[in-house]
């Protein structure tokens, strides 16, 4: 079994057993939807408002998961184990990013239907939304893993992740909401510039996966 | 976007250039504070170096230090250290800074 698969399997198994990230993220999302319902005083959302509420909530829920991504490694000496093992260290980056991707997909499988239930008048947007969400999750996973690994070894780690991560994901959010907004328009899903936004998402994913791959080794040096 | 009348427009342009100037001056002020601290520390260190060297009665004073009586132990900052050449070396400018 390759190092990547081994680490990924360990993480997923650990999450299944302890259930410490994904349920919290999902619960946080649903509660936030309720807060938005009252904060905006609306029971139905369309267009840019719908896209904004959805993506802002998913982003903040993701931050919760990203904060916890490397905690086990730090507390149980996993970093040392990786350093000592004769494997390519970027396997850790790839495995953690893949794990985070899985968490985000599961989060969305729970949160997005509930969002549609609370606020959308028709589920027609959900299928194309899946494509947007997948690409956005990939970018979020890459950047989140990178920032999380940098923050885990510093003081005030829980503060640093949101602080540094949020500006970095602004282009991601712009593209995700840009694609989602016409999907949730009043008259039914529209695809204005859908391809462009998906291209931007893909570009973001590519760049940050490459950057993460290139620099991760330096983060593990001691 | 119709252009503002010259008087009003002039204020905004002036404000922009003044902000630029103010930022430069603020930067200079901060660097001045840093320079002051460096000077203070150097003075302290020079004094320290002096007290260390002075137990040797006939020892030569540190190169470049002027007007210091080698037989008298220094106890406080030496007023003669005020000139920039006081700290050993060919001058306080970084031109003579040792290689790192």
């Amino acid at each position: 079994m390759s190092a990547f698969a081994a680490i990924l399997a360990k993480d997923l198994r650990s999450e299944l057993r302890t259930l410490q990230s994904v349920p919290a993220m999902a619960l946080f999302s649903v509660t936030t939807f309720v807060i938005f319902r009252f904060g905006l005083d609306r029971t139905a959302l369309f267009g840019s408002l719908a896209a904004g509420v959805l993506w802002a909530t998913l982003l903040f829920a993701a931050v919760l998961g990203i904060n916890r991504l490397f905690v086990a490694e730090r507390e149980e000496g996993g970093f040392d184990a990786i350093r000592l093992a004769p494997i390519d260290r970027t396997a850790l980056f790839a495995a953690k990013a893949a794990a985070l991707l899985v968490y985000l997909i599961v989060l969305e499988l729970i949160a997005v239907p509930i969002f549609a239930l609370f606020f959308l008048r028709s589920p027609a947007a959900l299928v194309p939304l899946a494509a947007v969400a997948l690409l956005a999750d990939l970018g979020l996973a890459a950047t989140g893993t990178l920032i999380s690994s940098m923050a885990v070894n510093s003081r005030a780690r829980d503060l640093l992740v949101p602080l540094v991560l949020l500006p970095l994901v602004v282009p991601l959010m712009i593209a995700a909401t840009g694609a989602t907004e016409p999907l949730m328009a009043v008259g039914g899903p529209g695809y204005h510039r859908f391809g462009t936004w998906l291209a931007i998402l893909a570009l973001y994913d590519l760049i940050f996966l490459l950057v993460g791959y290139a620099v991760f080794d330096f983060l593990l040096e001691d | 976007m119709p252009a503002l009348p010259l008087g009003e427009a002039g204020r905004y342009v002036a404000a922009a250039y003044i902000v630029f100037l103010v930022l430069i001056v603020v930067y200079v002020a901060i660097m001045a504070a840093k320079l002051q601290r460096i000077e203070r520390e150097l003075r302290e260190l020079a004094g320290f170096a002096e007290t260390r060297q002075n137990p040797v009665p006939t020892g030569r004073p540190a190169a470049g230090v002027r007007g210091v009586d080698p037989t008298q132990p220094q106890t406080g900052p030496d007023p003669n250290l005020a000139p920039p050449e006081a700290v050993g070396g060919p001058g306080a400018t970084t031109r003579g800074a040792p290689d790192v």
Partner: protein, 242 residues
């Protein structure tokens, strides 16, 4: 390692001369813009500052790559200073941009100008460089992680500009773009001299900052060599140039 103060005087003199020439050109030579009138003069300051700051961030990223590849700490210090001066220039960009927005649109901030908005995001990101950096106590690790940050952020800058430029709600034409295209020669000359002046200013400030860092570093070194007691009060771990 040569001393950093070498050539600082010449550089500062060149900067002062070019800045003065630039200011003279802006106010005595460049013609008045037909559309925006006198307000347009802000661009001679705002745009060079923006271009220099962005280049500075990219340079910071490149220097960080050098640090990661060679392991020499001085590259990290160069990267830090590049980013630091660029952040200061960014503050000037945002303030002058805001003044221009007030003069043109009547509001101190407008979301319609994508370059300004992109700049805000970039500034917010690089502003986190400091708390991020100083939260790591081990100096070597701090330098390495800061370099990783600088590289990531450097890659982020062009992507961010692209994304913001495509934001759907931009109805109004982008003035900064039109201000640059099709400039008459007199304006172009003025702009280029202003750009040269601001770039020289950036280089001078970077050198200035590096000289101060070098001096502090020498003081520390002297202190260690003399076995003198350390200065009282906590001092945070900061990038050192050697």
């Amino acid at each position: 390692m040569t001393s950093f103060g070498f050539g600082l005087k010449t550089l500062s003199t060149a900067t002062v001369v070019t800045l003065t020439a630039a200011l003279c050109l802006v106010f005595f030579y460049a013609p008045l813009d037909a559309n925006q009138g006198f307000i347009q003069k802000i661009f001679y300051l705002h745009v060079p500052l923006a271009m220099t700051a962005l280049t500075g961030y990219i340079v910071g990223g490149l220097l960080a790559i050098a640090h990661l590849r060679t392991g020499e700490r001085r590259w990290d210090a160069y990267s830090y200073v590049s980013i630091h001066i660029s952040v200061i220039f960014s503050v000037a960009v945002l303030i002058t941009g805001s003044i221009w927005a007030k003069a043109s649109w009547g509001h101190w901030w407008v979301w319609e100008e994508p370059t300004l908005v992109s700049f805000l995001i970039v500034f917010l990101l690089y502003a986190t460089y400091y708390p991020f950096r100083y939260a790591i106590e081990d100096p070597e690790r701090q330098a390495r992680y800061a370099s990783v940050f600088a590289v990531t952020a450097g890659a982020f800058v062009p992507l961010n500009f692209l994304a913001v430029r495509l934001t759907p709600s931009l109805v109004h034409p982008r003035v900064l773009a039109t201000a640059n295209g099709g400039l008459p020669n007199s304006m172009l000359l003025t702009f280029l001299v202003c750009l040269a002046a601001i770039v020289l200013l950036w280089i001078t400030l970077v050198k200035f900052e590096l000289t101060a860092k070098s001096a502090s570093g020498q003081v520390k070194r002297l202190r260690r060599a003399l076995d003198a007691p350390a200065p009282n009060g906590p001092s945070r771990v900061a990038p050192e140039v050697g």
